[in-house]
Symmetry: C2
Subunit: 503 residues, 2 copies
């Protein structure tokens, strides 16, 4: 009895510590959200130092000497329950990983990325890589240091990959990409030989407010909880969370392209539903956190592609859309619309790429990052490397850096090793969706009639509510009976695009 009370108290001390750290991290997330949505330009420097302090403090409190004792004592405590043990052991894993970085390093990285974000925004606006180059180079240098501080077996990039996706390596990714590259290229070539889809209907003028409102309607009807979240506008769409009761998405609107807002909106919705579905009762603890970025991406890609770009989905929403934009859609029907939103065409912008060519955008970034981290190429070489890679993999000419290596926000955040999770996410999404179809008879009919709640419930039950209980691989095996298998995606893609293009 005494023992149990002691265990309980110790576990409470652990919970209290982790929640305090979570409070600091989520506070930093509020400052970052503000930075990308509303912050006036002139306060970038002050914000950078405030963010650095929050980040450094969260780190310092976590890696304090007594944290390790507390975690180890708890783990060797036989009175500790299973769930509690899992939380503690995941925290110990995180502790050992984070312990490798000094407070000074964490602060430096935070300051460098705040500065980097501002110069990326300017560089992109002014279409001038050199504005970003020096800050980016500092970030790259810091990420190289991080790789060697974290340690790795084969390749320094593995250390960074592992940071987003436990156990992920270049070996694993090379194998995954080798399995999809050739069949995807073959499929894309097959598409190219057929008559091309006309998507000009999507390139008409769609007023900003009307698009935004349509996005809000989509978010609402697909289950986003606006009592515990909101949507705003930002340069680069993203999802952020300040805990499951405050999850925020952002979008952007191009008035002459229906795609931009729509797919970013549904994509971020998928991320947000995951965050809103994490167990609130485990606030601050590993079981209250998402398991990995590839699983996070599986949620965004599943809603964006497997649901949002399906024919069935638009059976319900196309009439809504037509009502919103009667002139623009006067001469189109749902089937041509479905073809238009799935037009396959090698292009320049990742976030606007179709599902097939998308993976080559990721492969290019993956290879580039690998070489950058191993030092085969330098920061200054990026624009040239980018142009050559896009020519080689996608056969497109990059006109400038805005449409090239400046398009993505990630590097300014220090996110090296993040992009591969986008492809993994698509592959998991296809495998999960197949499992959902098997588990939920009539799923596609539900989607056709606008009822996606049962799909969301299934994701909540099998993925969201689990937090970090399982790794990506364990979760995939538990849900689908096997490890990641890219053939699900290829089967889905072949059937879908074969249908659209008559292959």
């Amino acid at each position: 009895m005494v023992n149990k009370n002691f265990t309980k108290e110790r576990y409470q001390a652990y919970t209290h510590l982790m929640q305090k750290i979570a409070d600091l991290k989520y506070s930093a997330a509020v400052l970052q959200w503000d930075q990308e949505t509303y912050m006036p330009a002139g306060s970038a420097e002050g914000r950078a130092r405030q963010l650095a302090t929050l980040t450094e403090m969260a780190h310092s409190i976590f890696v304090a000497e007594n944290t390790e004792h507390l975690l180890e004592d708890l783990l060797s405590d036989e009175e500790l329950g299973e769930k509690e043990k899992l939380n503690v052991s995941l925290s110990l894993y995180d502790y050992r990983k984070e312990k490798k970085l000094s407070a000074q390093f964490v602060r430096q990285l935070s300051e460098a990325t705040s500065r980097g974000f501002q110069s990326w925004v300017n560089a992109k606006k002014q279409n001038e890589f050199s504005i970003f180059e020096s800050d980016l180079d500092t970030i790259v240098t810091l990420k190289k240091s991080q790789a060697s501080l974290m340690g790795y077996q084969r390749h320094p990039y593995d250390a960074l990959l592992n940071d987003y996706e436990r156990g992920c390596t270049t070996l694993f990714l090379d194998s995954v990409f080798s399995k999809i590259s050739e069949p995807l290229q073959q499929l894309i070539r097959g598409v190219a030989e057929k008559p091309q889809v006309d998507d000009s209907v999507l390139k008409q003028h769609f007023p900003k407010d009307a698009q935004y409102n349509f996005g809000m309607e989509l978010l609402t009807s697909l289950g986003f909880d606006f009592n515990k979240g909101r949507q705003d506008i930002s340069e680069h769409p993203f999802t952020t969370s300040f805990g499951p009761s405050d999850v925020r998405v952002t979008t952007r609107v191009h008035e002459n392209d229906f795609n931009s807002m729509t797919w970013s909106c549904i994509h971020e919705l998928g991320h947000a539903l995951y965050e809103q579905g994490l167990p609130d009762s485990e606030y601050g603890l590993p079981l209250g956190e998402y398991t990995s970025l590839s699983i996070h991406e599986s949620q965004s890609r599943l809603w964006e592609n497997n649901v949002g770009r399906s024919h069935g989905f638009w059976k319900q929403y196309y009439p809504v859309l037509q009502k919103q934009f009667p002139d623009q859609f006067a001469n189109t029907n749902v089937t041509s619309f479905y073809s238009a939103i799935n037009k396959v065409e090698p292009s320049l912008i990742r976030t606007e790429a179709d599902e097939l060519t998308y993976h080559f955008h990721v492969i290019i970034r993956y290879n580039l990052e690998k070489e950058l981290i191993e030092g085969t190429i330098q920061t200054k070489d990026i624009p040239q490397y980018w142009r050559e890679a896009y020519e080689k993999y996608l056969g497109v000419k990059v006109p400038d850096d805005q449409m090239g290596c400046l398009q993505d926000v990630h590097w300014s955040h220090g996110s090296f090793g993040y992009f591969p999770t986008y492809s993994l996410g698509s592959l998991y999404a296809a495998q999960f969706y197949a499992a959902a179809e098997a588990a939920l008879p009539g799923l596609n009919e539900s989607v056709e009639s606008g009822h996606t709640q049962n799909l969301l419930d299934w994701l909540r039950r099998n993925i969201h509510s689990k937090g970090r209980e399982f790794t990506s691989d364990e979760l995939c095996t538990k849900i689908t009976g096997k490890s990641l298998d890219p053939s699900y995606f290829m089967k889905y893609a072949t059937a879908k695009y074969g249908g659209i293009y008559g292959i």
Copy 2:
């Protein structure tokens, strides 16, 4: 030489500590700003705990054992410069004040006020004091504890007054209020005997966006730096600062009352100009902070009343306004408009009160708070007390709590002892404005031609840039040659309202 280096290092350690605390406090301010502008309702609880953690940490770091040693060692260090010594001695004053509160108390108060803010919003919306009562009672109890923890000579309320205004006591305030009460009542009676001003022109319909845009125009032309700040909408207008490079104001718009947006906008502008004018180089240190709330209020009231409600000011802006709202101002001229915006009439809402009756709104709250803190009345008695006091001092009937004791946000923030600074601010404003008129020949002609930059420069030079170098009283004496003297305000008010009402 060695000594000097040692002093420098120690001062740097002090600066570093204070800036870290500032980072935490300003981060909390970002979270609070978000709470009052954009935060979804369902995340109130999570936000409360995050704010409590930031507040508690800032407190704990500051009151740590070694802070006192560091400050005392620095103060006894003969190598320390004058300016540095002033910073350190002010920090020591703050330290001794804050040391009296435990981390637990600070956390409790932070959580109670976050909860209180949410229930105040609901109570006001639903016009139901009971929704707020229990949270308010918790806050009152905590403020009573705070008073006894802080200590006081005569009256527990003195301890709370002192928190906003160093040295302020009930004795001082009773004396100030006794000096203005009678002459103000006499002036108000004089006004009542004259033909009343017709302000119906201000109660027409002014569309929300157009009003907001006019407010933005005012902010811009009066010197608000939008590169280092922004304006948003909130339930209760306020100014907040995340450092001099990010100062934010909020406003509210009533479509059927031109007053609400306009005066809150210019009032908050005054606060914001002060914050934007604090020395950035002293970030986190006392010399980088405002000196007191009464001086802060002197800035908001000076711009709102001495400038914004002057005849000269509208010589420039009335034509702009007419262009914006041609229908509404078709049959009015600048002189009738000037009378309308200065209509004297006992009323219910403090923030919309004229300059004369305004002080009775403050006196009522001052007396109420005093009695609440000394325990003569209970939280549950507030609505009844409020109705009686408004009847007695202003002769108006309070129809409900929304228009009565629920109108102000302050108590939900735990701000007891804050209201008196509003009156002090008006009195200081009149005294400062008289000094500015003497120092800047042609000031009123400048204002008439829309040039307020020289006034702003004078305020920057004499007040904003000084930070906490002087107390309210020292600053007033330095600028005007004497301590606070309410006769400046009475002289200003008598001339102005005598003119308008023909007394």
